[in-house]
């Protein structure tokens, strides 16, 4: 782009200039009011300067000096101001530096100075009052919470850009194959339009433990309950004062019963409001020879009261509860409680004593889903949120790269009998490598400074587990401890981590420029 523009001036521009009044559009209308004041001031000793105040026609520039008379300063392009080989344009050094000064001042003030100041701060104590040498840098590698943050940054760096890139590649290739690829791309790219903060809030809700709020757990619980339905009486248990033994299999009665006796199994720990509608007033079972009969009921009345262990009026049976007769550890009989809570265990040998057992499947707690934001899953969960946002970005860049690949190669390979996967693996991927590198490096820089998602999604209790350097930097500097020395040291360290990625990027840009 530079080269043709720089070569153009001599022959390309002048022809329209020597003909006054011929210029169309804005150029012509701008001529009469040509800024006589600003123009000379800006171009310094340019020869057209003094001609400015003259009439429009007479002030037309001569063919050999067209540039300085461009109507608006805004149109000045640095490339065109370069002195051509003929020496048609000469700008003094001080003018060039004059143009450079504002940019340099701004860069130094808002980038250079803060970097130096951060380095200076990082060598000082918490409130910056005394010099501590490299102590803060030593703390980075000795403080366990910073080490956790560092470890998490490594996890992020290894997984997030690679996965985003892989997903982007898959999406881009898929998008090429479908008719509605634009719609597909828009949908995948849409999360990019959402700020990190908003995305963090969204995923914080997605990962809520309560399946009624968090969609992730709603799915997990829904799928789980299809295969393992919830128990009828979660959390219910025989009244704790009766001494029922509890193990994984369920509850076993402390007393033993023989055929013909009547058992009572009072339950607690279950809300009377949650009883099934079929539940009726519990009744005492009648003794039946050759059977163990009994009642299993919810030993509670609304509002408290009633005597524990007694079948008072108002206490209801727990229909559907399984009661087993145990001989040793083997189940020899099996019964289910009716609406009034009565059950009868038959087929028992007379004279033998049996224990009653209540299998745990009736009482097991409802499946609560996964603890997405618990210590084990919090970092992977946040990385998924990150992928949701950035996979679209990777896809768009890779799709652009894909469209630039010459089709002939793929077609030739197809003619030679290569499978789709072989073409993808041996032709598409190698040709895409430069684009993939760009995506990877960009995302790597992005991931190193990840802050918002971690800070918002991780609850306070697992924030230490999900910590990353950028969050740690904020926490120690502003999150309470006010240790700006350590915070600056982490900031400088983070900067050093980004440097290699920036180096790769700059080298690539240089090479591309050279190649073009």
């Amino acid at each position: 782009m530079d080269t043709p523009a720089a070569a153009a001036p001599g022959p390309g521009e002048p022809p329209d200039s020597p003909v006054p009044g011929r210029q169309p559009g804005s150029a012509a209308s701008a001529t009469p009011t040509e800024p006589a004041v600003t123009e000379p001031a800006r171009t310094g000793p340019a020869p057209t300067g003094p001609a400015g105040p003259g009439k429009a026609g007479s002030s037309r520039p001569k063919p050999d000096q067209p540039r300085p008379s461009r109507p608006k300063p805004g149109r000045l392009r640095p490339a065109k101001l370069r002195p051509s080989s003929q020496g048609a344009l000469h700008i003094p050094l001080r003018v060039r530096f004059g143009f450079l000064t504002p940019a340099v001042v701004i860069l130094l003030a808002i980038i250079g100075w803060p970097i130096l100041f951060s380095i200076w701060l990082s060598l000082r104590n918490a409130d910056g009052s005394s010099f501590v040498g490299l102590h803060n840098y030593v703390s980075i590698f000795t403080d366990p919470s910073t080490l956790t943050a560092l470890r998490n940054n490594v996890i992020w760096l290894v997984t997030a850009p690679t996965l985003a890139c892989a997903l982007g590649l898959v999406f881009a290739v898929l998008a090429e194959r479908v008719k509605w690829s634009t719609a597909f791309k828009i949908v995948i790219f849409m999360p990019m339009a959402i700020s990190f903060l908003a995305a963090g809030v969204i995923f914080e809700l997605v990962y809520q433990a309560d399946p009624n709020i968090g969609v992730a757990n709603a799915v997990v619980v829904g799928v789980h309950d299809v295969f393992a339905p919830a128990s009828h009486y979660p959390n219910a248990q025989p009244r704790s004062t009766l001494g029922y033994r509890s193990d994984k299999a369920g509850y076993t009665s402390p007393d033993s019963y023989t055929a013909g006796s009547v058992a009572t199994v009072p339950l607690t720990g279950y809300s009377v409001l949650d009883l099934p509608k079929s539940a009726a007033q519990a009744v005492t079972a009648k003794p039946v020879p050759g059977e163990i009969t009994g009642t299993v009921w919810l030993d509670l009345v609304y509002g408290g009261g009633g005597s524990p262990g007694r079948i008072d009026p108002g206490k209801k049976g727990t229909p559907g509860i399984t009661v087993d007769a145990l001989s040793g550890t083997t189940v020899v009989a099996h019964a289910t409680a009716g609406a009034d809570g009565t059950f009868a265990l038959s087929g028992l040998r007379p004279g033998t004593s049996y224990h009653l057992a209540l299998p745990a499947s009736d009482f097991s707690q409802p499946y609560a889903g996964l603890s997405w934001l618990g210590p084990d899953l919090v970092t992977p969960a946040i990385i998924v949120a990150y992928l949701w946002i950035w996979a679209g970005f990777a896809m768009v860049l890779i799709a652009a790269g894909l469209s630039g690949i010459p089709r002939e190669l793929q077609e030739a390979a197809k003619v030679d009998g290569a499978s789709d996967f072989q073409i993808f693996r041996k032709i598409t991927i190698p040709l895409l490598a430069p684009v993939l590198l760009v995506v990877l490096v960009t995302l790597a820089i992005n991931v190193l400074k990840i802050f918002d998602l971690v800070y918002i999604i991780a609850p306070g209790s697992t924030l230490p587990t999900a910590n990353v350097l950028a969050v740690q930097m904020w926490s120690v500097s502003f999150g309470g401890a006010q240790n700006q020395g350590l915070g600056s040291a982490i900031g400088v360290f983070l900067y050093l981590l980004v440097l290699p990625a920036m180096y790769v990027n700059i080298r690539r840009i240089r090479r591309e420029r050279r190649e073009s």
Binding site: S145, T268, G303, G460, P464
Partner: protein, 466 residues
């Protein structure tokens, strides 16, 4: 520095005339008509020297105020400030520092442009700033006002090195334990009056198929408040203050005892919604909401009076009928008449401090300390003050009146939240120090000794102000 020292009118007779003139040329848009009238009126009464209700003319003065309030609270506070503007003719601009007000203030001080008045929720920071000289001792008039309006406990709270540096403007009662009345009715229990009975009630609720307690363990400060109430009720205010300034170690027997007591609740997975893992995933907001939502997930939730705001904004429960509170249950042996069930009240609050000694700054703080300023916000609700002169009838409902009564009648048995008294590096950082140690304790309530050791190790890392 931000106070523009223009002409200050002292004389009574001059006041009216000068106010008229100033109103004409004043650039601050304070509403010239009313400001003139009140300026003259207050100028007249200023000579009488009475402390209450009379405000001098501060026409032309400009004051900046920094506090943490946003949203509705900001609107309410600005109504308080605009009343000051109307009465004095000064213009007051409010800036919110949000939850990082302490950091914002320190940055402003470092930048050389502090506000005139800052309301800070951390006494620990106030002590530090007072020792640095960044905030100034309050005037004699304010001291009189505080002595007349506030209980001795509140006065000593604002005192650093024998001088009064701050005055509590908005207080919160952190000794309130909220319960769902329907759940209590179902289990047939009444609010417990001591810790033993509290644990018995937990068992009764659990037997009745109701999870007793909702704990917002995702926020470490809620657990810290739990511990502090237990510690305050068991060890008493003297020990509490020693611990708050790290004059006794966190491994002391009193801490061990309080942690053991706390562990009696936390150790029973059936007493907590979702067990310990669930509690650690529950934020303060959710812990309150899930206790009063339909169907409720728990019968009780502990946190301060501000829980009421969360209840009314996120559930259909009505304060005073569906949701009520009882004072935090203290040990069974002690008996107290007021405050918590053992007579103490743990509080938090926003304390007004002066960043300069300008008379206008002092006037504003004195105004904030006076019942007139309190009444404006008290009417709106969501506000408590320990100011004795604010009649209970100024509060919108019976529950708030009960809370205000607790603050006033606590007398000397009132103690600021311990984590706010501590240096923020220990008691105010998410995911570190005190709060994190309490979360680890929630995970493993049997580890009393280990928790105490970890607390002491973290406390030893930071510098404590005397």
């Amino acid at each position: 520095m931000t106070v523009h020292k223009r002409s200050r009118i002292g004389g009574t007779a001059l006041a009216a005339a000068a106010a008229l003139l100033l109103a004409a040329c004043s650039s601050s848009g304070g509403g010239s008509g009313s400001a003139t009238a009140s300026g003259a009126a207050s100028g007249a009464s200023a000579t009488s020297g009475s402390a209450a209700g009379a405000l001098p003319s501060l026409k032309g003065k400009h004051l900046t105020v920094l506090a943490e309030w946003t949203g509705t609270e900001q609107t309410d506070f600005q109504a308080v400030l605009s009343s000051f503007e109307k009465q004095t003719g000064a213009s007051v601009s409010y800036q919110s520092g949000g939850s990082n007000t302490g950091t914002v203030l320190q940055t402003k001080i470092a930048g050389g442009a502090p506000p005139d008045v800052a309301l800070l929720p951390e006494p620990g920071l106030i002590t530090t700033l007072a020792q640095q000289g960044a905030i100034k001792p309050l005037s004699a008039a304010i001291q009189q006002e505080v002595a007349a309006d506030y209980g001795p406990g509140w006065e000593s709270m604002g005192t650093v090195g024998g001088k009064l540096y701050s005055v509590v403007y908005k207080a919160s009662d952190k000794t309130t334990f909220w319960y769902n009345t329907a759940e209590f009715n179902q289990a047939g229990i009444t609010p417990p009056s001591n810790w033993t009975q509290f644990l018995a009630d937990c068992q009764t609720l659990s037997d009745a198929g109701i999870t007793p307690v909702s704990v917002g363990g995702s926020d470490g400060w809620t657990l810290a408040d739990w511990f502090q109430n237990i510690y305050l009720s068991e060890a008493g205010p003297a020990m509490y203050n020693k611990l708050a300034h790290h004059q006794i170690p966190w491994t002391s027997p009193s801490v061990i005892k309080a942690l053991t007591t706390f562990g009696q609740l936390l150790g029973n997975q059936k007493y907590l919604v979702g067990g310990d893992a669930g509690a650690l995933q529950t934020s303060f907001n959710n812990s309150v909401t899930q206790t009063f939502t339909t169907p409720p997930k728990a019968a009780m939730v502990f946190e301060g009076d501000f829980s009421a705001t969360q209840i009314t904004s996120t559930t259909k429960a009505k304060i005073g009928t569906d949701a009520k509170f009882f004072p935090f249950p203290g040990p069974a042996t002690s008996s107290g008449a007021s405050g918590g069930s053992s007579g103490f009240v743990q509080v938090a609050g926003d304390m007004a401090t002066a960043l300069n000694t300008d008379p206008a700054t002092m006037e504003l703080i004195q105004y904030l300390a006076s019942p007139a300023a309190d009444a404006i916000w008290a009417h709106e609700g969501g506000y408590l003050t320990p100011n004795k002169l604010v009649p209970l009838s100024d509060y919108p409902d019976a529950t708030t009146q009960q809370e205000a009564q607790m603050l006033i009648s606590a007398g000397t048995n009132v103690d600021f939240s311990l984590d706010d008294l501590s240096p923020a590096a220990f008691g105010g950082t998410v995911g570190a120090g005190y709060w994190k140690d309490m979360q680890d304790f929630l995970k493993d309530p049997a580890n009393v000794e280990g928790t105490a050791k970890q607390l002491e190790a973290d406390a030893s890392k930071v510098t404590w102000s005397s």
